[in-house]
C-alpha cells in the first residue's frame, strides 16, 4: 500500500509542470499550516468552553440572571455592536496608554536603579514604598484630582504596569555574565557601548517578560479605574449592567475584555518576535 503511494508520488515528482505545482502547493501548505493549526486550536477551545457553559447551566440548573446562556450573550453583542465597540475602544485606549506610559516609566526607573548611583539608591525605597499599598485604592483620589475622563484610568493602568517593568529592567541589566562584562572592558568599550552592545541585549528577555505581564495588568488597571467612576469603557458597561441585573451584557463585556487581553498579549509577543527574536530566541 505504502509502496504504491510512494510510486505514485515519485511519478508526480518526475513530471516538471506537475512537480512545480507540487512544490508550490507544499510550500503554501507549510506556510499556512501553523495558522490553520492555531485557528483549529481556538475553535476547539471555543467549542469546549461553549459545551461547559451550556452543560453547566443545564445540569446545575443555573438561572439566566446568574449565568446567561452563551446564545443570549452573543445575541447581546450582535444587537448592540456599535455600543460594545465604542466602549471597547475606550478601554483599549486607557489600557494601551497606561501600558506605554507604565513601560516607559518603569524602563527609565530600571535604568536609574542600575546606573543611577546615589540617585538610584535613593529611588529604590520610594519605588518599593509605592508598591506596598494597592494602586486600585488610589483610583478614587485620582478621580478627584484628574476628573472623570480617560486620564485617571490611564494613570491607574500605568501605575500597575510600572513596577514589574522597573524591577525586571533592573534585574535584567544586572544579568550580564561576568566574563562578558570583563570582555567589554578589555575591548575598551565605554559605558554607552557596554550598555548598548552587552547589558541591554542580555536583559531583553527580562524586559520583554515584564511587557508580557503588563499587557494584561494594564487592562485590569483601566477596568478598575472605570469601576470607580466613568461614563465610558467596558468597566462602566459591567457596572451599569450589574445594577439592573443585565448579566448578558456583563458577560458580553467580560468576553470582550478577554479578547482585548489576548490581543494585547499577542501584540507584545509579536513585537518580541519581530524586533527582539535574536536576543530572546537563542536560549
Amino acid at each position: 500500500m505504502l509502496n504504491s503511494r510512494e510510486t505514485r508520488l515519485s511519478a508526480i515528482r518526475r513530471r516538471p509542470r506537475v512537480r512545480s505545482l507540487w512544490v508550490l502547493c507544499t510550500t503554501i501548505a507549510r506556510g499556512i499550516s501553523p495558522v490553520l493549526l492555531m485557528l483549529l486550536k481556538i475553535g476547539c477551545y471555543g467549542a469546549a468552553l461553549w459545551a461547559v457553559w451550556v452543560g453547566g447551566i443545564r445540569f446545575l440548573h443555573l438561572p439566566p440572571y446568574l449565568v446567561p446562556p452563551p446564545a443570549s450573550v452573543l445575541a447581546s453583542l450582535e444587537k448592540l455592536p456599535r455600543f460594545y465597540l465604542r466602549h471597547a475602544i475606550v478601554t483599549m485606549q486607557e489600557a494601551g496608554g497606561g501600558l506605554m506610559i507604565g513601560f516607559a516609566g518603569g524602563f527609565v526607573c530600571g535604568l536609574l536603579l542600575r546606573y543611577g548611583g546615589p540617585v538610584g539608591r535613593a529611588l529604590n525605597p520610594l519605588i518599593l514604598a509605592s508598591q506596598v499599598f494597592p494602586k486600585e485604592a488610589l483610583a478614587p483620589i485620582l478621580l478627584v484630582f484628574l476628573g472623570f475622563g480617560i486620564l485617571p484610568k490611564v494613570v491607574v493602568a500605568a501605575l500597575i504596569s510600572f513596577f514589574p517593568v522597573a524591577i525586571n529592567t533592573f534585574r535584567g541589566l544586572q544579568a550580564t555574565p561576568v566574563a562578558h562584562e570583563q570582555l567589554m572592558r578589555v575591548l575598551g568599550a565605554n559605558a554607552w557601548e557596554r550598555f548598548w552592545r552587552c547589558h541591554l541585549p542580555f536583559s531583553a528577555s527580562h524586559i520583554l517578560a515584564a511587557l508580557n505581564v503588563c499587557a494584561t495588568l494594564s487592562i485590569i488597571g483601566a477596568v478598575v479605574g472605570e469601576f470607580v467612576g466613568s461614563s465610558a469603557g467596558l468597566g462602566h458597561v459591567i457596572r451599569a449592567a450589574n445594577a439592573d441585573l443585565g448579566t448578558d451584557r456583563v458577560y458580553a463585556a467580560l468576553l470582550l475584555l478577554g479578547i482585548i487581553g489576548s490581543l494585547f498579549y499577542g501584540a507584545t509577543l509579536l513585537i518580541e518576535y519581530i524586533f527582539f527574536r535574536r536576543f530572546t530566541g537563542w536560549k
Binding site: 555574565p177 566574563a179 570583563q182 578589555v186 575591548l187 575598551g188 568599550a189 552592545r197 537563542w282
Partner: protein, 258 residues
C-alpha cells in the same frame, strides 16, 4: 611589551598575590602555571586592566593596562569563550571593530575604519583561527573547540600587542586541544603578539611557551618561585610529549609546583 614588577594584590584585605614580576616581549609566549586558586586568573585580570594592583607597576607597551585596553592593545581569551549568543560567529568576531575606541588614533589598528576594511580584518582573523567555514553559524551550533577558536579570532581581530589566554583549552577533548595548539602557534607567529598563557596543564604550557613561571602558594599569598626556559624548536606538535627532554622538563616543573 609587558613588564610587571613586584605587583601585589588582595581581595578585601586578604592577600592573593605578592611580589610578582613577569615580563613578556614581542612574539614571545610566556606561561604561568599554578594550582587551582593560586591566583592565575587574578594575574591576568591585573595585566588586562580589569583589576588594579595594590603595589608594584604594570605597563603594556609603555602605558598602564587600562590605557592599553582603551587603545585596544590587549586581547583576552577567557576560560569560557564569552561569545554573544544572539550574534553569528562573524558578528561576534567583528564586535571589537564596531567599538568607538577602534577608530581612536592610538589604536593598534592603523588602517582606515571603513566597513570593507573591517570585513577584510574579520575574514583574516577567521581564517587564521581556522573557523571561516562556520562564519554564519551561531554559538549554540558550535562545538567547544570551535567556540574557543572564535574567542581567539575575536581577540586577535584588532591585532593586539598583548594577548592573554586564560586556560583556553579547558573542557576540550584531545583532538580539539591539539588543533587549538596548532592554531595558537600560527596565530602568535603571524600577529607577533606578546602572549601570556595561564593554566595548570604542564604539558600544554611546555608545548606552547618559551618560558614558564611557576606560581606557588607561599604562606597566605602566591608568588613566583621558579622560571623555566623552554628550549624546543617551533613549530611544536604533540609528538614532543614523548621526547625525553620534554619529560624531564615536565618533571622539574612538577617538582617546583608541588
Amino acid at each position: 611589551m609587558l613588564i610587571a614588577e613586584h605587583i601585589s594584590f588582595g581581595y578585601d584585605g586578604r592577600p592573593v598575590i605578592s611580589d610578582l614580576s613577569v615580563d613578556c616581549c614581542r612574539a614571545e609566549i610566556v606561561g604561568i602555571v599554578g594550582a587551582s586558586g593560586s591566583g592565575k586568573t587574578t594575574v591576568l585580570n591585573i595585566f588586562s586592566g580589569n583589576l588594579k594592583s595594590h603595589s608594584g607597576s604594570v605597563t603594556v607597551d609603555g602605558i598602564s593596562p587600562r590605557e592599553a585596553a582603551q587603545a585596544q592593545k590587549i586581547g583576552y581569551v577567557f576560560q569560557s569563550p564569552a561569545l554573544f549568543p544572539w550574534a553569528t560567529v562573524e558578528a561576534n568576531v567583528s564586535v571589537p571593530l564596531k567599538l568607538r575606541c577602534f577608530h581612536h588614533p592610538s589604536s593598534s589598528f592603523s588602517g582606515s575604519s571603513d566597513n570593507k576594511n573591517s570585513e577584510r580584518r574579520v575574514q583574516w582573523a577567521l581564517e587564521l583561527a581556522q573557523i571561516q567555514d562556520a562564519a554564519q553559524r551561531y554559538p549554540h551550533e558550535l562545538s567547544g573547540g570551535m567556540k574557543a577558536r572564535v574567542a581567539l579570532a575575536r581577540a586577535i581581530v584588532y591585532k593586539p600587542r598583548l594577548l592573554l589566554l586564560d586556560e583556553s583549552t579547558t573542557g576540550l577533548d584531545d583532538i580539539a586541544k591539539e588543533n587549538l595548539y596548532k592554531v595558537l602557534q600560527e596565530v602568535i607567529a603571524e600577529t607577533e603578539a606578546a602572549t601570556v598563557l595561564v593554566g595548570h596543564d604542564l604539558s600544554e604550557l611546555i608545548l606552547l611557551c618559551d618560558r614558564v613561571y611557576v606560581l606557588r602558594r607561599h604562606g597566605v599569598s602566591s608568588r613566583i618561585v621558579h622560571c623555566e626556559m623552554i628550549p624546543f624548536k617551533r613549530p611544536r606538535g604533540v609528538d614532543l610529549f614523548d621526547d625525553p627532554s620534554f619529560i624531564s622538563t615536565r618533571k622539574r616543573l612538577r617538582e617546583e609546583l608541588c
